[in-house]
Amino acid sequence: MADDKIIKGDPMNTDISDTGHGYEDRELTYYDDNVGGRAVFVDAKEQWGDEDPYPDTTILPERDKDMTPVLEVKNLGIDFGGLTAVDNFSLAIGRTEIAGLIGPNGAGKTTIFNMLTKVYEPTRGEIFFNSKSTEGMNTVDINKAGMARTFQNIRLFDKLTVEENIKVALHSYTDYHLLNAVFHSPKYRREEKRIHEEAMKMLELFEMTDVADHKAGSLPYGAQRRLEIMRALATKPRLLLLDEPAAGMNPSETAELMKTIKEIRDKFQIAILLIEHDMSLVMGICEGIAVLNYGRTIAKGTPAEIQSNPQVIEAYLGKSRGKMEEEEDIEKQDPEAAFKKGKVTSKVESRPDRAKPAADHAKGTPGKTDKKGKEIR
């Protein structure tokens, strides 16, 4: 009975042997016209050379390589008025990969999340989610297709309780209609009981059952971030997007979060793409990393490759190293080493020369593509 409730990619009911992602019945819309399937990447490389518009699937984790990537982004770009916030962004994410998106403030990371979830309509480029183009989809369709996200500036349903925040995310899996709701029919009671249990299971997993009845808006910061992750997970996604999940957390909370993110991937067998400034977290759990600067991708690779990439170090640490060396902090005296150790965090981000592009954008008039009329973070 409960079994027929299992839905593709249902994280609460995932059997590891059958990952339930439905690769078996995937639609090959993207590969169809290329006999030999993925050979297309080779052709494209030859054709495009360095300007390869196809995401590099060779850096997918070994275990994900024989499955189509959960997400493929090709030449994605967006302009706000005359300003190019993101350009030529390409990326592939494996079915069970934890991937990272890093870069200084204002680099365009959140904007990429907004394009993936169709909060913004991209100006250029293509997004294939679960092998299907997301063209013409809106934010709601994207979530239904299996992409869920958190927000850099926490966006909870403040006046609902913690449990309700999760229950509302289960709405697609709550099977009763308006008349049942109005008359609290037996079907309503059955379904409410079921999703109550499901929500409590989720809360147990995150060790937050004791605050189930609290208003979401009254939670401490760290708990709010975790609730956002739970809410996103409750929609049973294939791909989870986390926008600065460790922001505002102390080191021990961050370490805890890092463990949680790994657990989520292992338990639910889903892909995770995260934006984060905390290098210990990024280098600690990401298998593939893309680095963004001024809207352009400056590097892609494994944590080791990224840490030794001179362009990345430059983007993160800037040229004015001399000034920093004057400071007493040992780590700051050798920022390169500090960066490699994964200890550089958003402190470096907030340097005024990095904040500048954001200020420029703010002055510009919003572009056509900005359908919501204001910045969504």
Partner: protein, 380 residues
């Protein structure tokens, strides 16, 4: 001792049933106010303690409470400003009157006619809600308020030129002129004069039943998937979309259910008078209903119930002020608004309440005792 413990456990279980969570608490208080109020008024009327004038207000009070509850669904739960609630009320009222007039010959029971009037009022008002809801629910905030305001005025203006009459058993209608061959008491609705010759079928009891039904629908809806989606979108639209909530669909549900309930209340209202002019359902009435909701505390259903009751009785109670009646009414309204929304006054009131409320006092004592215990343990 054991007995006392058992009693305590029983009391705890009872408290859990009636006040266990926010929904239960809200339901208990709201139903409680309505039922206790009904019994008190009924007893008072039977004992001859309540004057004719006030007794005449019983049905309108129930109707206005229903309207406040249903408007709360849009303003409090869905978070949209609607200024056209009287429009739905009007649609329901006149539909109900037409239906009862058509049934009069064949159905002697007033309560059955009333039932069908209310049902028909719900259906037509819901249709009106869908027709204006679909195009406007993409609009936000002020725009929605303006369009709903216009809707209310449009309904009133249409009713001003609409003529309905019974020719034998056939229902006839016309715009802008009386219907040939339909004379005297065959006329049901006569333009700006409105409905005449209505047989009153509404009673305090049936009106209260409708109010209870309205409360039932709104509270149940609030505590369901649909209610949660509606409130989620109110709290954060973008986050709502990001978890796959179809914003327009749920806003429309709130709007249409609210409209249908307003239509029912309107139908009840129409069955309480022998004549009813379209002017009754003007902008002032929409604003009045909104005032109930705001005064009761947006989203607070039992607050709206109390506000609707007091503000319906107040004008009657102020009759002795004759010419200054409306002025006094407005002043009272302003003072109450300032008092409820001024944070310092609210804090003061809270302090006073804490001093006089026995439960709070007991709780405080218990807390102090608990503190004492803990510190005691620490010392050990």
């Amino acid at each position: 001792m054991a007995e006392r413990k058992e009693n305590k456990a029983g009391a705890k279980r009872l408290r859990n049933i009636f006040f266990g969570n926010e929904y239960k608490k809200e339901a208990t208080i709201s139903y409680g106010i309505l039922i206790v109020g009904y019994i008190l008024l009924q007893l008072g009327a039977n004992a001859g303690l309540i004057g004719r004038n006030l007794q005449g207000q019983f049905v309108p009070i129930c109707v206005y409470i229903s309207l406040a509850i249903s408007l709360n669904l849009v303003v409090g739960i869905s978070g949209e400003l609607s200024l056209g609630h009287a429009g739905f009320m009007s649609v329901g009222a006149f539909t109900g009157i037409i239906v009862t007039r058509m049934m009069e010959a064949s159905m002697p029971s007033g309560n059955v006619r009333l039932f069908f009037a209310v049902l028909a009022g719900a259906i037509t008002a819901a249709i009106a809600g869908i027709i204006i809801g679909i195009p406007i629910l993409g609009l936000r905030g002020d725009y929605l308020a303006i369009v709903t305001l216009a809707f209310g005025e449009i309904v009133r203006n249409i009713m001003n030129v609409l003529y309905f009459g019974l020719d034998g058993k056939k229902l006839k209608f016309a715009f802008n002129h009386t219907i040939d061959g339909v004379e005297g008491n065959q006329r049901i609705i006569t333009g700006a004069i409105g409905a005449t010759g209505v047989t009153k079928t509404a009673t305090f009891t049936t009106a209260m039943l409708l109010t209870l039904f309205t409360l039932f629908v709104v509270l149940n809806l609030k505590n369901s998937k649909h209610g949660r989606c509606i409130m989620a979108v109110r709290d954060n639209r973008i986050a709502g979309e990001s978890i796959g909530i179809n914003v327009k669909k749920y806003k429309l549900i709130a709007f249409v259910v609210s409209a249908a309930l307003a239509g029912m209340a309107g139908a009840m209202f129409g069955q309480n008078y022998s004549t009813l002019a379209p002017l009754k359902f003007n902008f002032n009435t929409s604003v009045l209903i909104l005032v109930f909701v705001v005064l009761g505390g947006i989203g607070n259903i039992w607050g709206g119930i109390l506000a609707a009751t007091l503000l319906t009785i107040l004008p009657e109670a102020l009759r002795q002020f004759a010419d200054y009646r409306m002025l006094t009414y407005a002043v009272v309204l302003i003072v109450v608004m300032i008092c409820t929304y001024n944070p310092t006054i609210r804090a003061r009131a809270g302090m006073v309440w804490e001093k006089i409320s026995p439960r709070k006092r007991r709780k405080k004592k218990a807390e102090e005792a608990a503190d004492h215990d803990e510190t005691g343990k620490e010392e050990m």
